[in-house]
């Protein structure tokens, strides 16, 4: 693996960690939400992050 490929791999790992952080943050506000509309909104936003972290999409 070249230096550039190693750097790119590290960046990719960090992007997955950032995605996991966002999922955690959205899940946290989902739990704390008091309005049904907000809960639905947060749950919809969570979906692409779940699919990405599971490497499905």
């Amino acid at each position: 693996m070249s230096v550039l490929q190693v750097i790119n791999t590290i960046i990719t790992v960090f992007y997955y960690l950032i995605s996991a952080f966002f999922l955690f943050a959205i899940a946290k506000v989902f739990v704390k939400s008091h309005k049904v509309q907000d809960a639905i909104l947060y749950s919809l936003i969570m979906m692409p992050f779940i699919l990405r972290l599971l490497r499905l999409k």
Partner: protein, 390 residues
């Protein structure tokens, strides 16, 4: 009580979301892992992997099969490849028709069905593309993946803010880092599709390829339509091919365009600049790609009939004609196959020392009459030694 109700509602929402994720995830996974069976012609000499030419793609999804038909008789070498853009179905299917039927009696022909396999495992967001399409054959349906023009973000992520093409330094759209037709001649230590293009260039150099032909389709709203785009090394061949096909075979003319020298990353420019090969790219109309299309489904993909695209044609807004017959896939495949065989014939006239003679490939009229499915073979009854998976 209110707190309990809210908890119950959230639990219900989560259950619905996880069901949706489960179903969507299953569909995405099925699409991504589907294997397309190839019953290679008995006249194939060797089936290699792209990584045999450069290990930069070894272990990746883009380490595709390379089907080599070497007659053993001295002559020219041609590379045919499809699947550059997986949303252009007539391209990998046209290449497959060669892979499953070709016999080379002089020279050498190399075929790649899907050069950017990763793109075929993805889909274009917001476009409602079908996941698969099937072509009728005498033995049943042959199913293919339908994908996107760019590699799957699961295989190449993240994209840069601005894609700087190597080695020209030209700035291109960020997403084109995953579009192999903006990555030529490739980069050894680049991202996936850059490395794929690099490995393909190594194939071209190591096999001594004289001509390359990249199969494509384009929306009728696009100016580069029904044409051969040629590097200056291929101008004569492309021009004569265009004239022959337009005057003798095709009902809709096929043009010829010069590869622009200042637009970088495209196969017709960079392969010619960075190897001894004369590079060409051929386009045919595909109404499914048009922005003004109606419902995007397998029916539109296969029939090429769309009343909205037709209406645009009536108002003179298109670069290709379309009538009530549409642009069916058999016509698009037939045009690509006939263009490739005519290029070989013209090459033989202009460069007798690089003659390529082939058999077993149907003509335009035969494909139109019988359908492309008549030339695909049943993997379930074929000799397993000749069955591969793209």
């Amino acid at each position: 009580m209110k707190k309990m109700n809210m908890k119950a509602i959230k639990a219900l929402i989560l259950a619905i979301v996880f069901c949706a994720v489960g179903i969507a995830g299953y569909l995405f996974h099925e699409h991504r892992t589907y294997k397309e069976a190839v019953v290679v012609s008995p006249y194939v000499t060797e089936v290699k992997k792209l990584s045999d030419y450069s290990d930069v793609v070894k272990g990746t999804v883009n380490d595709c099969n390379v089907y080599i038909f070497d007659s053993g008789v001295e002559g020219g070498t041609m590379l045919l490849y499809g699947g550059t853009h997986a949303e252009e179905p007539a391209c990998n299917t046209a290449a497959l028709l060669f892979t499953e039927n070709l016999k080379v009696t002089q020279g050498k022909v190399i075929v790649i069905d899907r050069i950017n396999t990763s793109g075929s495992t993805s889909t274009r967001m917001g476009e409602a593309y079908p996941r698969f399409y099937s072509i009728e054959t005498p033995w049943g349906e042959k199913t293919f993946r339908f994908g996107d023009r760019a590699a799957n973000p699961l295989d190449s992520w993240p994209d840069p803010e601005v894609y700087i093409h190597y080695p020209s330094g030209q700035s291109l759209a960020y997403v084109d880092i995953r579009n192999i037709n903006r990555n030529w001649p490739g980069k050894k230590d680049g991202l996936l599709t850059e490395r794929t293009a690099y490995a393909a260039m190594e194939l071209i150099r190591q096999e001594g390829v004289d001509m390359t032909l990249d199969f494509h389709e384009a929306e009728l709203e696009y100016a580069v339509e029904n044409t051969i785009v040629a590097h200056e090394k291929a101008n004569e061949i492309a021009a004569m091919t265009s004239m022959l096909l337009t005057s003798q075979v095709f009902d809709v003319a096929i043009g010829m365009e010069f590869s622009p020298t200042e637009l970088h990353g495209l196969s017709h420019r960079e392969i010619g600049d960075y190897s001894d090969a004369a590079s060409m790219l051929v386009e045919v109309a595909e109404p499914l790609l048009d922005r003004i299309r109606g419902i995007t489904d397998e029916e539109l993909l296969l029939s090429g009939k769309d009343r909205f695209v037709m209406k645009a044609g009536e108002h003179g807004l298109l670069y290709a004609p379309i009538d009530e017959n549409g642009w069916p896939i058999e016509k698009r495949i037939a045009r690509h196959v006939e263009t490739a065989t005519t290029i070989m014939e013209v090459n033989n006239m202009l460069h007798p020392d690089r003659t390529i003679l082939i058999e077993g490939i149907p003509s335009y009229e035969e494909i139109m009459a019988n359908g492309p499915g008549a030339y695909y073979h049943d993997p379930s009854t074929a000799d397993p030694a000749y069955v591969y998976y793209d």
